[in-house]
Amino acid sequence: MTSTTSSPLPAVERREPSAARAGRSTRRRVRKDLLRSRIAAWSAVVVIGAFGLLPVYWLLATALSTPESVFRFPPKLIPTDLTLANFTALAENDQLIKYMINSLIVASITAVLSVVVATYMGYSFSKFRYRGRRSLMHLVLASQMFPQALLLVTLYAVFSSFGMLNTYTALVLSFTTFTMPLCVWMLKGIFDTVPDALLEAASIDGASRWRTLHSIVAPLAAPGMIAAGLFAFVRGWNDFIFALTLADKEKQTLPPGLVSTYIGEFQTAWPQLMAASLVVSVPVVVAFMFLQRYLVGGMTAGSVKS
């Protein structure tokens, strides 16, 4: 919470002379320390790297194997008869492509809706003081904790009675239940970093409150908004439970789509399933690589300083 960057620096300076006096031996110890920490760091990276990345290797290796070759025990750790057939089979699968398009549509709309709504709400929470603000804020934050599975039971009934099952609207609305609270939280954090003085200056310059928000604050907060949107997109892209229950084949997204495509016979279709999994992951991974910086910035903006 308290900003610590300013106070310790003088302390360092104060200690400087003593370090100099200690002379070479200290420097040697520091160097030894450095070496030791390097070794520790590399071993941590290697061990955790094995845990983190070997499964990815196995995903890739299985996806490149022929259907029969995976039914061997013990399995060959380095597959020899490589094939791309599993991937070409996917390209011919129209249904999977349809699932992917549905995923893109639903996750994108969810992201935009969540960010727009959360921008106004987060701005209100961050820059204004009024009665009930804090209770509202807490309520929004706490709503992340509300059990999705329980929510789903009634959402299903509500959408059913309005004839809205199997529509993009139902999916977007249900995804919003878990993306919006987090977006509000992230964006409030972003707006907290915009100095009040800027708003005052804008106000003195005669900018209306709407204009201040839209043309002065929003551009400043753009990276944060992108981050929030990306986060909402990834969560929407990855959702399983809502899409499984609320949508049919026509409107279903990839995760439940994969389940219904492969789970009936997944025992035999491991290579294909792994290939499909890999392909499904590509869009998010690519999106992520480009926007990683924003995402990390946005997620940590509200929390790191507190």
Binding site: R29, I204, V284
Partner: protein, 308 residues
């Protein structure tokens, strides 16, 4: 609604509707779309669900019958404690293990290893890919008959015979936690790394020159700096895991013999496989009650910190 002093200065009266709204009213107006959405898709369904818990109702059939506390009694006399215990084991395990791993990795990457930016990106892969894919992948790794884990362990002589990881009570929960850990440690690593990067290097050097060992340096310098991020990361992950569904549903479906059943899978399966939405929502209601305690604790903590 608009009495407390706004931080913004009251702007001079100006064009059209602008002047007619007080700052407070403006602020409330900003929250209106969000609140409407919240009311419609979160609060109403939740309240309605809690209400449904008092009825006997079949998802497939119209009509319902008031049964008082029967549905609640069904759970409290039955599996409630088991499910609670399993949910807690999963939640605590799937929160702490990735936290420790993520923290260790963040510390390692923060020492300025060559290529740490690239490594950070690489490690994010498991977090970004869809949860269902994660479950598929581990389901294949843990496969009882052809899985690579059994293959490696048997080959290296650590076990004599393949283990049905997902088919045995003890190992199934472990497998589920490992899977969830794999999917969430990268996110924790990124957050903690961002926190670590705010710690000035000079602090470390100074402490090192003072002769502080690595462990002491960690607790004296590093930990106080990242405590804020750490607690938020832990809290969020705890909340998410408490209602996590995908991994368990795909990997074990709550089995074997219900030993990986959590609130999320039990509510879902009661409602959508058993079609008994009275009992499903009753269990959900009990779950909510527990969550409210958590929320209260959360509010108390954040209040004491006096957040802005």
């Amino acid at each position: 609604m608009s009495t407390a002093a706004p931080r913004q200065k009251e702007p001079p009266p100006r064009r059209r509707t602008e002047g007619r709204l007080s700052n407070g009213a403006f602020a409330v107006l900003l929250t209106a779309p969000g609140l409407a959405l919240f009311a419609a898709i979160i609060f109403y369904p939740l309240l309605s669900a809690v209400f449904t818990g008092f009825f006997k109702q079949d998802l497939r059939l119209p009509g319902r019958e008031f049964v008082g506390l029967d549905n609640f009694a069904y759970w409290l006399d039955g599996d409630f404690l088991t499910i609670l215990k399993q949910t807690l084991v999963f939640t605590v395990g799937a929160t702490l293990v990735p936290f420790v791993i993520g923290f260790a990795l963040a510390l390692a990457l923060n020492t300025g290893l060559r290529g740490s930016g690239f490594l950070r990106g690489l490690f994010l892969f498991p977090w970004v890919i869809p949860g269902v894919v994660v479950s598929f992948l581990w389901m294949w790794i843990f496969n009882a008959n052809y899985g690579v884990l059994n293959g490696v362990l048997v080959k290296s002589g650590l076990i004599d015979e393949s283990v049905a990881w997902l088919g045995q009570p003890g190992t199934a929960m472990l497998a589920v936690i490992v899977t969830k850990t794999w999917a969430s440690f990268p996110w924790m690593m990124v957050m903690l790394l961002a926190g670590l990067q705010t710690v000035p290097k000079e602090l470390h050097e100074a402490a090192s020159m003072d002769g502080a060992g690595a462990v002491r340096r960690f607790f004296a310098v590093t930990w106080p700096q990242v405590r804020g991020v750490a607690s938020i990361v832990l809290l969020l992950e705890f909340i998410w895991n408490f209602q996590h569904f995908d991994t368990i549903y795909v990997l074990t479906g709550g089995g074997p013999a219900g030993t990986t059943e959590t609130f999320a899978t039990a509510v879902y399966q009661t409602a959508f496989n058993g079609f008994d939405i009275g009992r499903a929502t009753a269990l959900g209601g009990l779950w909510m009650l527990l969550l409210l305690l958590l929320v209260a604790a959360y509010l108390r903590i954040t209040e004491r910190k006096g957040d802005a």
